[in-house]
């Protein structure tokens, strides 16, 4: 499976994402610059964390108009897996590919530590290698990770099982502890925690690896060769 790691000016988790897919999973990965006009040769799209365009105006607001975002939209419409982590999640909400928005953490602090996450929905292409309700340990590193949406949007997310991860504890003010959501079709996931930073015991844990394994597993099952 071949992944595109989109690199915006200000991305800083692109190397971690590349490492997770290429070195820990053994799949193909390439860095793709933000003005690329063609993502058709990739099977999965990864939007890494960081501070695209300096987080000026609002985090993710300027990146949504990068040239490559039209291609990311096309990939999402084609049903390819699109994963946005941290700033990548913020970009996906600003681009309208996921509902809601990320606000400043309620205590105004940038927080960087490992937190407990509950798998609320393991029936997705991103989470099929987890158990339903399983609690995993994944690092966070964000100042604006406070997920907000209105009541109607929340009810819709809930009814459609689009809430994929919640925090075990409320530390940033996110609505109902939401840490990650998926689109209605189920192929676009945005989350604030960093699974790509939890792919080896050497760096403190590997609970994030199953997320990447899930994507590859689902892809292989739907691209079985009968030769």
């Amino acid at each position: 499976m071949k992944f595109a790691v989109i690199v915006f000016p200000g991305s800083n988790c692109d190397l971690d994402m590349y490492h997770a897919v290429k070195d820990e999973l053994g799949e193909e990965a390439e860095y793709v610059w933000h003005d690329s006009k063609d993502l058709s040769s990739y099977d999965g799209i990864l939007l890494p964390g960081g501070f695209s365009y300096g987080d000026y105006l609002r985090c993710g607001a300027i990146a949504q108009f990068s040239g490559v975002m039209d291609e990311v939209r096309k990939a999402a419409e084609a049903g390819k897996p699109v994963l946005g982590i941290c700033n990548g999640f913020q970009i996906l909400t600003e681009a309208g590919l996921l509902p809601g928005v990320l606000l400043r953490n309620k205590n105004l602090k940038f927080m960087c530590r490992t937190v407990g996450l509950k798998v609320e929905n393991n029936n997705t292409l991103f989470t099929n290698e987890y158990e339903q309700g399983e609690e995993i340990q994944i690092p966070i590193a964000h100042g604006e990770g406070n997920y907000y949406c209105d009541d109607a949007t929340y009810n819709h997310l809930k009814e459609n099982n689009q809430i994929v991860f919640t925090y075990a504890d409320d530390f940033n003010g996110s609505r109902n502890n939401i840490a990650g959501i998926i689109n209605e079709r189920g192929n676009v996931l945005g989350m604030m925690p960093h699974p790509e930073r939890a792919v080896s015991e050497l760096i403190g844990g590997k609970d994030g690896l199953a997320l990447f394994r899930s994507i590859v597993k689902q892809w292989r099952e739907s691209h079985v060769s009968h030769a």
Binding site: L57, A61, V101, L103
Partner: protein, 84 residues
């Protein structure tokens, strides 16, 4: 040429932690009469000659990029720029 002053503020229903922190500080300084603080953004746009109606242009800019209407309101003022 026109100068457009755009004010972007968090909607009333959205918690403004920055505003709350500043209000807490003002209270500590003894200004207990400050009942609320909200922090927003102020942008100045200079719009060159255009065939487009300035109001519809500014509204479009605000909706597409300058404000996220899920959480933010905006208002603006238009001034004529007098050439020097």
């Amino acid at each position: 040429m026109k100068k457009v002053k755009v004010y972007v503020t968090l909607r009333e229903s959205v918690l403004d932690p920055q505003g709350s922190a500043v209000m807490g500080s003002l209270h500590k300084m003894g200004y207990g009469e400050v009942a609320d603080v909200r922090i927003g953004k102020y942008l100045e746009l200079v719009i060159g000659d255009s065939e487009r109606d300035v109001d519809s242009l500014v509204n479009e800019l605000c909706h597409r990029l300058l404000a996220n209407t899920v959480i933010e309101d905006y208002r603006y003022e238009i001034e004529e720029v007098v050439s020097q």
